[in-house]
């Protein structure tokens, strides 16, 4: 597993600059457009400006997208086109090694991309507390959840175009209804339930609280839901990928 991660990190060490630059621009554009543009028409939320309200959410969402793209397009290409995963299996590695190598890599990427956004919003003066540094270790958790979700989907599909479904039907609503753009308290009961399942919601809540320095036991349930996601999904990608890799 670590040997596989080492391969991925070697690749990442080559591409991280172009990769993160691109990734860094998009949330900044959103923040500028929505935070400073749309924000001018929006009253303060929970006593903070709209720009301050949405900024921490982009740490979480950037992490989600990093993990999601790595374990959908990235993993699918390695599985189906490059046959890199098959080549790994001819070496003394198991399917679990290969799959967890993918998941850990996505987790690392997720951490990295989130950290870049954290640095960016700190530079914009939108970070209020040193507690924000706790976001860094925390990012690994939602990173892994989204890696597990995405890789499970990738293990299931046969055609790269199907990844679009995952992005539009799953990732996009998860992104929009995660509490990044508006508080979710006003949602109807069913909406509230759906939001509690949404891993990004919990990631956003933790990031926002830490950025504002609101540290309390109220954060623990969010962490607990994410841990639960890992525990529930941890076995699935290996099982699905074994079917794909070993005939």
């Amino acid at each position: 597993m670590w040997r596989v991660l080492k391969r991925h990190l070697k690749v990442f060490s080559r591409i991280w600059w172009t990769n993160t630059m691109f990734n860094f621009i998009e949330p900044i554009l959103y923040m500028t457009a929505m935070g400073f543009g749309l924000g001018a028409y929006v009253q303060n939320i929970d006593g903070v400006s709209y720009a301050q309200f949405i900024a921490p959410g982009f740490i979480a969402s950037s992490g989600m997208w990093a993990s999601t793209f790595e374990c959908t397009y990235g993993s699918f290409v390695r599985l189906q086109f490059e046959k890199t995963l098959h080549a790994m299996l001819a070496a003394p590695l198991t399917v679990a090694d290969v799959v967890w190598g993918e998941i850990l890599y996505a987790t690392v990427k997720s951490f990295f991309y989130g950290a870049v956004i954290l640095a960016a919003i700190a530079l914009l003066g939108l970070v209020q507390s040193w507690w924000s540094l706790l976001i860094l270790p925390f990012l690994a958790l939602p990173g892994m959840v989204f890696a597990l979700l995405a890789l499970s989907f990738t293990g299931f599909i046969k055609n790269i175009d199907h990844i679009n479904y995952y992005i539009t039907i799953f990732s996009t609503p998860v992104y929009l209804f995660s509490g990044i753009f508006f508080p979710l308290d006003s949602m109807p009961f069913l909406g509230q339930v759906a939001i509690w399942i949404n891993p990004l919601y919990h990631s956003v809540e933790v990031c926002r609280s830490l950025v504002f320095g609101h540290v309390s036991v109220a954060l623990l349930p969010h962490v607990a839901v994410l841990v639960l996601w890992v525990l529930v999904l941890g076995w699935l990608p290996v099982k699905l990928m074994r079917k794909r890799l070993i005939s």
């Binding site: 040997r3 596989v4 080492k6 391969r7 070697k10 690749v11 080559r14 591409i15 490059e82 046959k83 890199t84 098959h86 080549a87 790994m88 299996l89 001819a90 070496a91 003394p92 590695l93 198991t94 890799l245 070993i246 005939s247």
Partner: protein
């Protein structure tokens, strides 16, 4: 000589389709053992079972004395694999590919770079270490894949159609390198549908068709066993052949075979029938006399014309 890989009544199913229908073979340590057959004959499936990408459904497969259903890491550590499709990592350079792959075997970066360079030298690619994988020709990519398969100094190297898609020079170079490896005591297991390759490289081989083994032995033995030593290929459409040709050939001690839409006359002694051809109404220009080889065995076993 000890047996290093052995199969007894080995079977593989993909759903309802039976890809391998109960084959048995024994591969000795240090030999080059070939699987010859059409595409879809079950060769690659057999290779995948040996190197751990397919499970054994029925029968018995023993590698290094251990019976396996899915080849475990401990056995894969002693094996090198050249898969049918080049699966080099396009995100890495040639030498990095070898370095990373060595890492999968637990080698340090330094050690796998050193060995990687050694094997690149061996494969005649000493100056390509820093090249991007997609800048290499197909032949050179294949050589890198072979170098990669050697990084762990394997005792067995499994090669699934190692020269498919290579030009004649590339193919000969790979053959030469494989012979050198065999000299070093490495056991080679290869699949091919090139008769020449099988004849050039293999100490022993099996002919596979439709998931079964039809014959096995040394290439020359197989030729002796299955066909007469000389062959006259008749390159004429069937409707232009003299009607009583078969009787005449038969009377002269020859055997006529319709295979793969061609006509072949096999004979103990080439010249006798060859001299008779004009008087039988066959121009020698339309015919070709040669010694029989493995392809004849293969065609006879697998390619008999459906009548």
């Amino acid at each position: 000589m000890s047996i290093i890989v052995e199969a007894q009544n080995l079977m593989k199913y993909y759903g309802d389709f039976q890809a391998v229908k109960g084959i048995s073979f024994a591969i000795n340590s240090g030999e080059c053992f070939g699987f010859l057959g059409h595409n879809g004959a079950g060769k690659s499936t057999t290779m995948r079972m040996i190197y751990g990408l397919s499970t054994v459904d029925k029968g018995r497969l023993t590698v290094f004395g251990e019976t396996i259903t899915l080849t475990p890491p401990g056995i894969k550590a002693r094996m090198g694999v050249v898969p049918q499709e080049d699966s080099l990592d396009p995100d890495l350079t040639v030498l990095e590919n070898l370095e990373v792959y060595g890492g999968f075997f637990g080698l340090s970066s330094k050690e796998s770079r050193r060995r990687g360079q050694e094997w690149l030298d061996f494969m005649g690619l000493e100056d390509r270490g820093n090249a991007r994988v997609d800048s290499l020709s197909g032949g050179n990519q294949r050589r890198v894949v072979i170098a990669r398969a050697l990084i762990n100094r394997p005792e067995i190297v499994v090669l699934d159609e190692p020269t498919t898609g290579l030009d004649p020079q590339g193919r000969r170079l790979v053959w030469q390198k494989l012979r050198q490896l065999k000299e070093q005591g490495v056991t080679l297991i290869l699949t091919t549908h090139y008769m020449e390759e099988a004849a050039q490289l293999c100490d022993r081989l099996v002919v596979m068709n439709d998931g079964m083994i039809l014959a096995q032995g040394h290439p020359e033995e197989l030729v002796r066993q299955y066909v007469l030593p000389y062959c006259i290929e008749v390159r004429l459409p069937f409707e232009l052949l003299p009607a009583d040709l078969e009787d005449k050939v038969h009377a002269a001690g020859g055997v006529m075979e319709h295979m793969a839409d061609g006509l072949f006359i096999y004979t103990e002694e080439g010249q006798t029938i060859w001299q008779h051809l004009p008087e039988w109404g066959l121009s020698q220009r339309a015919c070709y006399l040669r010694t029989s080889h493995l392809e004849d065995v293969f065609l006879k076993l697998t390619g008999r014309r459906e009548e």
